[in-house]
C-alpha cells in the first residue's frame, strides 16, 4: 500500500486506493459511533462514574488465597504432588545436577577447550577463538562457578524447550487444524511478560531450580514451535511435488525432504530459544535459581553496581557467543566446516589432554588468584556520574530535576487523564484504534483484554501502568527512530552502535536498577528510564534494517529528481519502510511492558509493584491478579499496534 503511494507516476491508482481505505476507516468509525450511541447511555445510567464499576468486578482474593493454602497444605501428601510434580521436580534437579557435575569434572580448562571446539566445528575458527576468550573472561571476573551453574541450568532448559517446541511445531506444521488452534496460543505466549509465569510455578514447585527451569521452558519454547511450524509449512512446493511423484511415503517425505528443507528455520528457532532461555535464567534468580543471575541480584542488596556488572558481563558474553555461534552455524549449513578429519582428531586429542592435565594437577576450580576486580573502578565511575549529573548542572539542571519535570508534566497528566476517563470511553478508544489498524477480530481481543482488567478489579493501577508504558514507548520511539535513521545512513555509526546494542539487549535488567535510581531518584521516572534502555536496541535495529531494505531504485529515482537528503528520508525512505517502523512500534510496546516489573523495583508502583509484592510475600491473590492484568495490557497493546506482518521473534 505505502509502496504504491510512494512511487512516482501511480498517483491515480494511489489516490483511488487511499480514498477506498479512508472510506473503510470511516465506515468502521461510523459503525462504532452508532454502537456507542446505543450502548453508552444504558451503561452510563446503570454504572455512572469514571472508574470501572464495582458491580462488574470479580474478587479473586478469596479463591486464590484458598488455592495457595491448599497447595501448601497438600504438597507433602497429595498424590498429585507425590506422583507427578514431585517426579518432574526430581527429574529437573537430577538433570541439572548431572550436567553441572560433568562440567565440574571437566575442570575449567576442559570446559573452555570443549566450548572452543564446539564453536570451531559449528562456526569456524574466529568464533572459536571468541568463545574461548569469553569463557576465560568469565573465569577472570571471578565468576567461574556461577557461570557453570547458569550453563547447567541453560543446557537442561534449552533441551527441554527445544524438545517441547519441536513437538508442538511438528504437529502444527503437519496439520492445518493444529496450526490454527496453536497459533493464537503462541501469539499470546509471546506477549506475556516473563514475570507472570513465575508466581504459579513457584507455588507448585517452591523456590529453586525446578521452578526456574520450568518457567524458562514455558518462556522459551514458543519461538521454537513457531519457527518449526513455519519451516515445515514453507517447504518448497516444487521439491515436495517432486518427492511425492517419486512415490515417497508421508514419513519419508517428512524425514528426507521437509525437515532438511526447514533446517535454517530450525536453527533460527534454536537460536531464539537459547537467547530467551538465557534472559529468563537471569529473571529466575528472583525465585532462587542460583548462578550468575543470583550474583547480580545479591550484589544489588549492597548497592554494588560494580559487583552486579561483574556478574552481568559473563551473561552478556554467553549470550553473544551463543547467538553468534548458532547464527553462524545456520549460515554455514551445508558447507564443510572445521578443517579436515585429521586436524579435527588432533584438536580433540589436544582438548582431552588439556582436560586431563587439569584433572591430574588438581586444578579443576578456577585459580582464585587469576581474577580481575572490576567492581571498584566501576563503582567509582558510577559514583562520579551520579555526583555530577544528579543536580546542579549549569543551564541544564540535573537529572533529578529532569525526572521531576518528566513526572510532573508528562506522567502525572497522562495518568490522571486516563484515570478520569469514563471506563466505557477507554474501551471505545481501544476498539477504535485496534479496528482501524487491524480487523474486527483484533479489536474484539483488545476490548476483551481491557475489560478483563476491569473485571479483575485492578482498573486504576492498570491505567497507571499504561500511562508509564505509553510514556516510555514514546521516548523509546523518538530516540530509536533518530538513532535508527543515523545508523541506516552511515555504516560507521552502525558498526559503532552494534556492540553497544548487543550489551544493552543482553545485560540483565537488574544491573541498571541502581544507576537509574541514582540518576533519577525513586519513582516512576527511573522506571521509564529502565524500560527505555531495555527496549531501545530492538527499535533501533528494526528501524535500521527497515530503512536499509528500502528499494535502492526508488531512492535513486528520488535522487535523480533532485531530492535533498531530508526529502529522500521523509518522502521515500520512511513511507517505504512503514511496515518495519510499525513493527518497531509493536516491539517497543511489548519490550517496554516486559520491564514493568523492574519498574516496580525502583518505585514505579502500580502493577509492577503488585507482582513484586506477590512474589515477596507469597501472596498469590495480589501477585497473580496483577500479573494477569499485565498480560491483558500486553495483549491489548499488541493488538492495537499489530503491524501488518508479525515478527518471528520477541526481540531480545
Amino acid at each position: 500500500m505505502a509502496a504504491v503511494t510512494a512511487t512516482v507516476g501511480h498517483t491515480g491508482v494511489s489516490a483511488l486506493l487511499r480514498s477506498a481505505t479512508r472510506h473503510r476507516a470511516l465506515a468502521k468509525i461510523l459503525l462504532l459511533a452508532v454502537a456507542a450511541a446505543v450502548l453508552v447511555p444504558v451503561l452510563d445510567s446503570r454504572w455512572a462514574g469514571g472508574t470501572w464499576p464495582h458491580a462488574l468486578t470479580v474478587d479473586l482474593a478469596g479463591p486464590l488465597g484458598r488455592t495457595s493454602d491448599w497447595i501448601i497444605d497438600n504438597r507433602d501428601s497429595h498424590p498429585l504432588f507425590l506422583y507427578f510434580f514431585g517426579y518432574v521436580s526430581n527429574a529437573v534437579v537430577l538433570c541439572v545436577r548431572a550436567v553441572y557435575l560433568v562440567l565440574l569434572a571437566a575442570g575449567w580448562a576442559g570446559v573452555t577447550v570443549a566450548a572452543g571446539l564446539v564453536a570451531w566445528r559449528a562456526a569456524g575458527i574466529r568464533l572459536a577463538l571468541g568463545t574461548t576468550a569469553a569463557f576465560l573472561a568469565c573465569g577472570l571476573l571471578g565468576m567461574w562457578v556461577p557461570t557453570l551453574q547458569t550453563l547447567a541450568l541453560m543446557v537442561v532448559a534449552v533441551l527441554a524447550s527445544v524438545a517441547l517446541g519441536a513437538l508442538l511445531g511438528l504437529a502444527a506444521g503437519l496439520s492445518d487444524r493444529t496450526y490454527r488452534a496453536l497459533r493464537p496460543v503462541l501469539d499470546t505466549m509471546q506477549v506475556l511478560p516473563a514475570f507472570a509465569y513465575l508466581l504459579p510455578v513457584v507455588l507448585v514447585f517452591g523456590i529453586g531450580v525446578p521452578a526456574a527451569v520450568l518457567a524458562t521452558v514455558v518462556y522459551a519454547a514458543p519461538p521454537m514451535a513457531r519457527l518449526t511450524a513455519l519451516g515445515l509449512r514453507d517447504a518448497d512446493t516444487g521439491v515436495m511435488e517432486a518427492v511425492t511423484s517419486l512415490g515417497a511415503t508421508a514419513r519419508q517425505r517428512l524425514l528426507t525432504a521437509r525437515l532438511p528443507l526447514a533446517r535454517k528455520e530450525l536453527l533460527l528457532g534454536l537460536n531464539q530459544t537459547i537467547m530467551m532461555a538465557l534472559s529468563m535464567a537471569v529473571i529466575a534468580s528472583v525465585i532462587g535459581a542460583g548462578g550468575l543471575g543470583d550474583r547480580v541480584y545479591q550484589a544489588l542488596a549492597s548497592v554494588d553496581v560494580g559487583a552486579a556488572l561483574a556478574a552481568g558481563i559473563p551473561i552478556v558474553l554467553l549470550a553473544v557467543v551463543l547467538d553468534r555461534v548458532t547464527g553462524a552455524a545456520g549460515e554455514r549449513l551445508g558447507t564443510r566446516t572445521g578443517g579436515t578429519a585429521l586436524v579435527r582428531a588432533y584438536a580433540l586429542a589436544a582438548a582431552v589432554a588439556v582436560a586431563l592435565a587439569g584433572r591430574l594437577t588438581g586444578r579443576l576450580d578456577w585459580p582464585g588468584t587469576w581474577t580481575v576486580h572490576i567492581a571498584e573502578p566501576v563503582n567509582r565511575v558510577v559514583g562520579w556520574m551520579t555526583d555530577h549529573l544528579y543536580s546542579g548542572v549549569p543551564h541544564l539542571g540535573g537529572t533529578a530535576d529532569w525526572a521531576g519535570h518528566f513526572t510532573t508534566w508528562v506522567l502525572d497528566p497522562l495518568r490522571d487523564g486516563f484515570q478520569s476517563l469514563p471506563w466505557w470511553s477507554v474501551l471505545l478508544i481501544v476498539a477504535a484504534l485496534a479496528w482501524l489498524i487491524g480487523t474486527w477480530r483484533t479489536a474484539l481481543t483488545a476490548v476483551l483484554a481491557m475489560a478483563a482488567i476491569g473485571v479483575l478489579g485492578v482498573w486504576k493501577p492498570s491505567l497507571d501502568t499504561l500511562s508509564q508504558v505509553l510514556a516510555a514507548v514514546a521516548v523509546t520511539l523518538v530516540l530509536g527512530f533518530a538513532t535508527g535513521v543515523a545508523a541506516a545512513r552511515s555504516e560507521r555509526v552502525e558498526r559503532l552502535l552494534r556492540p553497544v546494542l548487543d550489551v544493552f539487549q543482553t545485560m540483565p535488567q537488574f544491573v541498571y536498577l541502581i544507576p537509574v535510581v541514582a540518576l533519577f531518584g525513586v519513582g516512576r521516572a527511573p522506571a521509564v528510564a529502565a524500560a527505555v534502555v531495555y527496549a531501545l536496541p530492538a527499535v533501533v535495529r528494526i528501524t535500521t534494517q527497515g530503512l536499509r531494505a528500502v528499494d535502492p531504485a526508488a531512492l535513486e529515482a528520488a535522487r535523480s529528481l533532485g531530492a535533498t537528503g531530508a526529502q529522500q528520508l521523509r518522502q521515500v525512505q520512511l513511507p517505504l519502510a512503514r511496515p518495519a517502523l510499525l513493527l518497531a512500534v509493536n516491539q517497543g510496546v511489548v519490550l517496554v511492558l516486559a520491564v514493568v516489573i523492574i519498574g516496580g523495583l525502583v518505585g514505579g508502583g502500580a502493577l509492577g509493584y503488585d507482582v513484586v509484592f506477590g512474589l515477596a510475600q507469597g501472596d498469590l491473590a495480589t501477585g497473580l491478579v496483577a500479573g494477569a492484568a499485565i498480560v491483558c495490557l500486553g495483549l491489548m497493546l499488541d493488538r492495537v499496534t499489530q503491524p501488518t506482518r508479525r515478527a518471528t521473534k520477541k526481540g531480545a
Binding site: I72, D76, F81, L82, Y83, F85, G86, Y87, S89, N90, A91, V93, L94, C95, V96, R97, A98, V102, L104, A114, V118, Q149, V202, G206, I207, G208, P210, S285, I287, G288, G290, D294, Q298, A301, S302, V303, D304, A307, Y390, S391, H405, T407, L513, I514, V517, A518, G521, V522, G523, R524, L601, V602, G603, G605, Y609, V612, F613, L615, A616, Q617
Partner: protein
C-alpha cells in the same frame, strides 16, 4: 562433549521416570548445586539486607574454614524463604524478623521447621529523618508535628503531600494504615527494593535535603547517613493485631534463627554450630559496614572479623 552430556542426562532422567514407582517427597528437595564436590554442603538463605549478608558471611566462613563444609547461599525474600526452608531447599534462616503466620504453619502444624534460637541482635523498625534535619528542626522527631513539615518533604512522586519513603515489598510494614490512622498529610512511596531506597537516601543525604523514611536497625547505613527516629505513639502488646487499625510504633524484635527439621536432626556439627551462632548488634554492624561501605566481599569481611574476634566464635564451635 556436550552431546554426550545430553544423552547421559536423557538416559538418567528416563531411567528415573521409568523406575520411580515410589512417592517423590516434596519435603526433600535439595539444590542440584549442593554437595557437588564431596564435602557436606549447607545451604543458607540470604535476605536482601546487608545485616543478613553479614550473618551468612561469617557463618559461611566458619563452616568452610573451621568445619570443612561447603556452603551454598541463595537469595530469597522472607516469606518464600520459609517455604524453601520447609522443603529443604535451604537448611537455615539466620535472621527472621517475626512471621507469626509462617511460624504457626510450619513450626507448630507441619513441624518441618524448628526454631534455632536467638541471633542475639534486636531489630527495630521505625520512621527516621536525617540527623542534620532533626538538628535544625528538633520538633520534627515527634509524629504530631510531622504535618507541619509535609510541604518540605514533598517530591514529584508524592503528589502535593509529604513523602514517606518505604522500601522493599518483602518487609513488614503498617505505614499505609499508620498514615491514614494518624491523619498525616503524607503519601507512602514504595521504592520497591532496598537497593533503590538506599540509593535514594544517599542521594538526599549528599545534597543535605530533608527526607522521611521507613527504616530499621541494626543497619550499616546509619554510619554513613546518621538518622534520628521519629517518635510514633508508643507500642503496646497487641496494638498492631489488626492491620487496618494500627496507630502505634513498631515493636523491638529479638531476631530469631530457624532450621529445617531434618537438617537440625541430621546436620551434625553444622547444625550444632548454627544453633549456637549468637553475636551482638555491634558485631553484625562491623561486618555489614565492611561489606556495604568498604565494598569487601562478604567472605573478606567475615575473615577480617573472624581474625579479630576469636573468643566470640570459638564458643560456637565447642
Amino acid at each position: 562433549m556436550r552431546l554426550r552430556t545430553m544423552s547421559v542426562t536423557a538416559g538418567v532422567s528416563a531411567l528415573l521416570l521409568l523406575t520411580g514407582c515410589g512417592a517423590a517427597d516434596m519435603t526433600k528437595q535439595a539444590s542440584p548445586f549442593a554437595g557437588a564436590q564431596g564435602a557436606g554442603t549447607v545451604t543458607l538463605s540470604v535476605q536482601s539486607w546487608v545485616g543478613a549478608q553479614a550473618n551468612v558471611g561469617v557463618a559461611q566462613y566458619l563452616l568452610e574454614h573451621e568445619l570443612g563444609y561447603r556452603v551454598d547461599t541463595v537469595q530469597v525474600d522472607e516469606v518464600p524463604a520459609w517455604d524453601a526452608l520447609s522443603q529443604g531447599r535451604v537448611d537455615a534462616i539466620l535472621e527472621d524478623w517475626g512471621h507469626p503466620d509462617q511460624e504457626k504453619r510450619y513450626v507448630e502444624d507441619k513441624k518441618t521447621i524448628v526454631a534455632g534460637g536467638g541471633l542475639g541482635v534486636t531489630g527495630h523498625i521505625g520512621w527516621y529523618v536525617p540527623t542534620y534535619f532533626a538538628r535544625q528542626h528538633p520538633d520534627v522527631t515527634d509524629w504530631k508535628n510531622l504535618n507541619k513539615y509535609a510541604g518540605r518533604l514533598r517530591t514529584a512522586e508524592s503528589g502535593g503531600k509529604g513523602q514517606l519513603l518505604d522500601g522493599s515489598p518483602s518487609y513488614v510494614t503498617n505505614d499505609k494504615a499508620l498514615v491514614g490512622n494518624l491523619k498525616l498529610n503524607y503519601q507512602v512511596v514504595f521504592a520497591g527494593s532496598e537497593a533503590a531506597q538506599i540509593t535514594q537516601m544517599k542521594q538526599f543525604a549528599k545534597e543535605r535535603k530533608p527526607f522521611l523514611t521507613y527504616w530499621y536497625s541494626p543497619q550499616w547505613l546509619f554510619e554513613k547517613v546518621p538518622m534520628t527516629e521519629v517518635r510514633l505513639p508508643a507500642y503496646k502488646d497487641g496494638c498492631d493485631a489488626d492491620a487496618a487499625k494500627v496507630a502505634c510504633a513498631y515493636p523491638h524484635t529479638p531476631l530469631q534463627k530457624y532450621l529445617n527439621t531434618d537438617f537440625a536432626k541430621n546436620g551434625g556439627r553444622a547444625a550444632a554450630f548454627l544453633k549456637k551462632f549468637k553475636w551482638t548488634t555491634e558485631d553484625q554492624n562491623e561486618v555489614s559496614l565492611m561489606i556495604a561501605n568498604d565494598r569487601m566481599s562478604a567472605q573478606e569481611a567475615a575473615k577480617k572479623w573472624v581474625d579479630s574476634h576469636p573468643s566470640t566464635w570459638r564458643a560456637w564451635l565447642s
